[in-house]
Symmetry: C2
Amino acid sequence: MNSRRVESPAAEVHDGTVTTDSAQGPPPGKRRGRRPAGQDTRTALVEAARTVFGESGYEGATVRTIAARAGVDAAMVNHWFGGKEGLFAEAVLELPFEPSEVLKILLDGSIDELGERIVRTFLTRWDMTGGGLFQALIRSITAHEQAGQVLRDFFLNQLFQRIVDSAGVENTDLRATLCASQLMGLGMTRYVAKFEPLASADVETLVKAVAPTIQRYINGDIG
Amino acid sequence: MNSRRVESPAAEVHDGTVTTDSAQGPPPGKRRGRRPAGQDTRTALVEAARTVFGESGYEGATVRTIAARAGVDAAMVNHWFGGKEGLFAEAVLELPFEPSEVLKILLDGSIDELGERIVRTFLTRWDMTGGGLFQALIRSITAHEQAGQVLRDFFLNQLFQRIVDSAGVENTDLRATLCASQLMGLGMTRYVAKFEPLASADVETLVKAVAPTIQRYINGDIG
DNA sequence: GTCTATACAACGATAGAC
DNA sequence: GTCTATCGTTGTATAGAC
C-alpha cells in the first residue's frame, strides 16, 4: 500500500480559493472559483463517501467518483479531509454509529442486558456494511496516527465511557477500553482476518458467546 | 511507462570490480556467485527483517533495506521467501511465537489457569517487541489477503485449536476463534489504536481482567 | 562436470519533486 | 505536466559447493 503524504489541512473554516478543475464541458460545466455560499461541500462529500464506500469498499471507491457524486471537484477531498483516508475515517465512523442514536438504543433497558444489546447492535450494523468498511477502518488506523485519535474519541468518549458510567461502577476508563478491545477483536476476526467459523456465525450465536464478556467488563469483577 | 534511463552509457555486462580475483587486490565489493559455505543468508534476512519491520512497519520497510542490513542482495528475499510477504510472515509470526515453544509453555499446568497463562504469555511477548511488529502484522493482513491466510493457519491450526482441544470440550472451532478475537482485540487496543488506560496498563492488571474471558471461551459456557 | 546460491541489471509501477 | 528516484520483482550470468 501507499504511504500517502497527508498534510492534513483538516478543519479549515474558510475555503481557500481552490480552483475547481475546469469541467470538460461547454455549457453546463462547473465554473471556476468559489461556489456560492450556502453549499456545504464538506457535508456533501461525507454523504457521498458513505454511499460510495459502502458500495465499493475502500479500494474500489475512487476519490473522483465520490467527488462527482457530491458535485464538487476531487481536489476538495484533499482540502477538507487531507486525502482519501481522512474522508473515509469521517464518513465511516459517523455512518453506522451515529452516537446519540446508538446510545439511545443501548441505554434503553436493563443494565444486566447491556452486553447483549451492545454485541447485537455492533454486529448487526457492521454486517450491514458487508465488512468492507470495517476493514478500511482498521487500515486507516494503522496508516495514520490521526485516524487512531478520531477513533479513540469516538469509541471511548462518545460511547463506552457513557455506557460504563451508566452502570455506576469504578474503573470506568479501563472498563471502557476492555469493552472496546473485545469488540474490535470481534470485528477483526469476523471481517478482516475472517477466522471461521466465527466469520460466518449467526449474530445470535456470537451474542450468546460474547455478551457475557462485555457484561463482565461493564459491571462485573475485573480484578 | 518510461524506460528508466541508465546513467552509464557503457552498458557493458562485465565491468569494474567483478572480473578480477587475482590481479586487483581489494575485493571489498561482493563478488558474484555463491558465497562461501556457512553463511546463513536466510537467517540473516529473517533477523534483519524483524528489526526493520518492527521499526518501520510493513509498508515502510523496504526489501532493499532489509537485504542491505543482512548484507545480501535484495533478490535473495524472492529466492528464499517468495517475496516481501513471505519474509514478513516468517519474521513476524514464527519468530516470536515459535509454536512448539509457546505450546509447551501454555499447556504446562492446570487447565483452569490456561486463560491466565495465555494472556500473560501473549502480552509479555508482544510488549517485548514494542508493539511495532503487531502493528505491522495488522497492517499486513488488511493490505493483503494472503497475509490473512498465513495468520489464520498459524493462530488457529498451530495454536488455539490444539489448546482448546486439550480442554476436552465441544465446539472447539468456535472456541478457538473466540479466543483469537479477544487476543487480537487486546493487541489492537494496546499497540495500534492505543486506547488508554489499557495501552499502558500493567500486564498483570490485564491478566486479571482478560484471563476469565479466555478461560470461558476455552472451557466455559458459551451458548 | 552439475547444481544452485548468489549478485547485478533491468523492468513496470508509482509517488514526489520540479 | 514532466522528470526522477525508488519501490518490489524478475531474468540471467557466474562463483563456488558438490
